[in-house]
């Protein structure tokens, strides 16, 4: 069982890497600043909502792009929503993937959209894993008395 100091360091290093690698941006810091003793789970709660909502949007996107006649306005609307929510939690790479996606929507380019969807799914998966790891590290530190 790692000591508190080691856990702290691991958490700090991991957090830094997330910012350095562009997974998270300053908005995530803003979220953390809104968390306090009266709302100790705020970040986890918001991020959980983000996970749920993103899953829904990604599945709607897949469906929309499978249609015989693709409704690009609908596709764009879903991507816009995901762009908004990822921006709200500081999920920078997901947000950027959404921005690229919208360009292909504008061009009504199905191939491009499908590629973007795949990319978006990848980025989302990565983000989810990273955040879950982050929360796990935080939990471990808490449990160790840190």
């Amino acid at each position: 069982m790692d000591g508190v100091a080691q856990l702290k360091k691991r958490l700090a290093d991991y957090t830094t890497s997330l910012y350095d690698e562009g997974y998270l941006d300053d908005q995530f810091v803003q979220l953390q600043q809104l968390q306090d003793e009266s709302n100790p789970e705020f970040v986890v709660e918001v991020v959980s909502l983000f996970f749920q909502d993103s899953q829904r949007l990604l599945s709607e996107l897949a469906k929309a792009l499978e249609q015989q006649s693709v409704d690009f306005r609908k596709v764009d609307a879903y991507v816009h929503q995901l762009k908004g929510s990822s921006s709200s939690i500081g999920a920078q790479r997901v947000q950027r993937a959404c921005i690229s996606f919208r360009n292909y929507c504008d061009d009504q380019n199905i191939e491009g959209c499908l590629k973007c969807l795949q990319q978006l799914k990848n980025e989302y998966s990565l983000m989810k894993n990273k955040l879950e790891t982050l929360f796990k590290l935080e939990q471990q530190l808490l449990e160790a008395g840190g």
Binding site: Q27, Q30, L31, Q33, L34, N39, F42, E45, V46, L49, F50, D53, A77, H80, Q81, K83, G84, S85, S87, S88, I89, G90
Partner: protein
């Protein structure tokens, strides 16, 4: 009621995104505001007691009997891009209503479109915030809420001082009706241009300072 001498400002937040509702709620609560969130413009109007079919009666109080009469709203903050009624549509409806038009409205948007911003400001929005909204944005809200300062309407011994210091006379007889918005309208009638002047430099109540 001795709960607090500082009566809270109440903000109605409108956003179709559940994440953004959670965020704005936290931001507002952190700033000690009371918050109600709804996910659409039509629900916002419902909450405000404005029924769609009554909006034509601009001179009458268009408040339905089962509206939230005890709840006063001091500011409305709404997302721009929403399905159905946009934030702009909502803004317009509020400004067209004689009972609601004095409530300050703030628009939020993830997109920085100057023409959109101008349109909203011209229609009477107090501020336009780019998303994601931050604490420093929320800090700009207080002066706007001070304009709808009718927090201390309810007769309360602690508020006697307030009434003395405030130069805006509260029309007592008109308050006998329980309808909150009656007060708002009554206020409008009884008010001088002083309405826009901030009432207090600091906190909401003088008694506590």
């Amino acid at each position: 009621m001795g709960l607090s001498t500082e009566s809270q400002f109440h903000v109605l937040a409108v956003d179709d995104s559940i994440i953004d509702r959670k965020l704005i709620e936290r931001l507002l609560k952190t700033s000690s505001y009371q918050v109600t969130t709804v996910d659409s413009g039509s629900k916002a109007l419902e909450f405000l007691g404005l029924n769609e079919d009554k909006h034509k009666d601009t001179n009458q109080l268009s408040i339905s009997p089962n509206s939230h009469q005890e709840v006063e709203v001091n500011l409305i903050i709404t997302d721009y891009c929403m399905p159905g009624m946009t934030g702009y549509d909502l803004l317009k409806k509020i400004k067209e209503s004689s009972s609601l038009r004095d409530i300050p409205v703030v628009i939020m948007s993830s997109e920085n479109v100057p023409s959109r911003i101008n349109r909203c400001l011209e229609e009477g929005a107090e501020e336009f915030f780019l998303k994601p909204v931050k604490l420093c944005d929320v800090n700009k809200l207080k002066p706007h809420m001070m304009k709808t300062k009718y927090k201390n309407n309810h007769q309360n011994p602690e508020n006697q001082e307030n009434e003395e210091i405030s130069e805006e006379i509260q029309p007592q007889p008109q308050q006998q009706q329980s309808n909150n918005n009656n007060k708002r309208k009554a206020m409008e009638d009884g008010l001088s241009p002083d309405r826009t002047r901030p009432r207090f430099a600091g906190g909401l109540t003088v008694a506590s300072n």
